[in-house]
């Protein structure tokens, strides 16, 4: 895979708080991520991992937050402006990814269609993405006919093809068999080689298979940085 020569981007979110039904999910969190980071995020069920990833990806509005990023040295407190920045740079993958109705090609091409690319360029990028996840043979397959593991890999390819600065993987190995897990480990390690910042939530440390360089632990709404 071609290495992208990108300058590291650092994003800092502070004062993140979020309540649901008057229950505190996240409390005054501070979080900094660089596009060179590969972060393992652990925490018990209901500790707020998915909520935090959705906030970081601009999909969920927190009760309070402050955002700054080194690239243009800006502080953004307005959620509208912050949301725009976060959505542009962060791509979130659900625990059980959603594939749109249509073919595998349609799904991977989805994010490319607003990028003023020709049909040939889109087809080329789709092929390239399928090659990375070793699923070229599924090019024309209907998305409803895929297994859970294949869906996860197609969803990763769909995110990779738009080259986001960061990819948030929410429990990507849940409900996966050993073979699918091993293939997905390789794909995720390759994302890292492409200088894409990654946050991966999991119950299992996966210490042997994935090259994490940071470990964060969420506990009772607070974040603790652990040593790898």
């Amino acid at each position: 895979m071609k290495k992208l020569n990108k300058q590291a981007i650092i994003v800092k979110l502070t004062n993140i708080s979020y309540q649901r039904n008057k229950q505190i999910i996240l409390h005054d969190l501070e979080f900094e991520i660089s596009s060179e980071n590969f972060i393992l995020m652990t925490g018990q069920n209901g500790s707020g991992k998915s909520t935090l990833l959705k906030i970081i990806s601009g999909l969920l509005k927190p009760d309070s937050f402050s955002l700054s990023h080194k690239q243009s040295v800006k502080n953004k407190k307005s959620w509208l402006a912050a949301k725009k920045f976060l959505r542009k740079n962060f791509c979130y993958l659900h625990q059980s990814p959603y594939l749109f109705s249509g073919s595998v090609h349609d799904n991977i091409a989805y994010g490319l269609k607003h990028q003023a690319l020709s049909r040939q360029e889109i087809d080329h990028k789709v092929n390239e993405a399928l090659k990375i996840v070793s699923l070229q043979h599924l090019y024309n397959r209907n998305s409803y006919a895929l297994s859970g593991g294949e869906k996860q890999r197609i969803a990763i390819a769909r995110s990779w093809v738009i080259h986001p600065t960061f990819i948030m993987l929410d429990e990507p190995f849940a409900n996966m068999d050993k073979h699918s897990r091993n293939s997905t480990y390789d794909i995720i390690n390759q994302l890292k080689e492409d200088n894409i910042g990654i946050i991966l939530t999991s119950h299992d440390p996966h210490s042997g298979e994935l090259d994490f360089n940071r470990h964060m632990h969420l506990h009772q709404g607070n974040m603790i940085e652990k040593t790898i």
């Binding site: 999909l59 979130y92 659900h94 749109f100 989805y110």
Partner: protein, 233 residues
């Protein structure tokens, strides 16, 4: 019994022979209802989307209101519009009473709550992850809206068919605001009512056949659409 079979035979003969008056009424009926559904559907679907995806004060009240409005009798809609559009009414200056535009307006009012309520159900059934996935893949929110509508297409088509079925056969509103004027505002239901009151059953039965055939075709199409939707679940 003999009269009925004779009237039915005459009705079929009228349809097959291409009777100008009958076919003009059929064409007018479909033209008015198609225009009504064409105007109502996009707005209703967008309102249903807002009710499904945005949380704002009064949202639940609006949903309850549209659900209630589904059961408004056509004749009540007709009476209200008649009072609004009659010369002494607040919209009398528009001179719309006894025109096809008034009939279209009446049919829009009739099918709108049904379209909103059924589209809302169809959109609620779409997985929330579809919207989040579209947004996180960097597309503009407008495109994300179309993506969600596409995911809900089978339910939305069913809603539009149900809305069309409601207005093509309604008589109350069309009669009151259209006036049942031959060559201008006489549609299938108003013509059936008139011909039956005159004792001219053949034309009434012929038009009834068309309505029944239409209902059958719509239901067959609806069943096909729903079956296609089920195979994607």
């Amino acid at each position: 019994m003999n009269d009925l079979s004779m009237a039915t035979t005459q009705a079929l003969a009228l349809l097959v022979s291409g009777d100008t008056e009958i076919w003009e009424i059929i064409f007018l009926s479909f033209s008015v209802s198609f225009r009504a559904i064409l105007v109502a559907s996009p707005v209703a679907v967008l309102i249903a989307f807002c009710l499904s995806y945005f949380h704002f004060p009064g949202r639940r009240f609006l949903i309850a209101l549209f659900n209630t409005a589904m059961s408004i009798p056509a004749v009540v809609v007709g009476l209200t519009l008649y009072l609004l559009l009659s010369r002494a009414g607040p919209l009398g200056d528009l001179k719309l009473l006894f025109t096809q535009e008034a009939m279209i307006f009446g049919q829009i009012v009739l099918c709108f709550p049904l379209l909103v309520a059924l589209s809302h159900v169809a959109l609620q059934a779409v997985d929330r992850r579809a919207w989040e996935t579209a947004i996180t893949l960097g597309v503009h929110p407008f495109r994300a809206v179309f993506t969600v509508l596409k995911e809900a297409r089978f339910g939305l088509i069913a809603a539009i068919i149900a809305g069309f079925g409601r207005i093509i056969a309604e008589v109350g509103s069309s009669m009151m605001v259209g006036g049942n004027i031959l060559h201008y505002t006489r549609n299938i239901p108003t013509a059936i009512a008139l011909e039956t009151s005159k004792g001219s059953f053949a034309q009434g039965i012929a038009l009834g056949f068309v309505l029944l055939l239409m209902a059958l075709l719509l239901n067959l199409f609806l069943t096909y659409v729903q079956a296609k939707g089920d195979t994607h679940l």
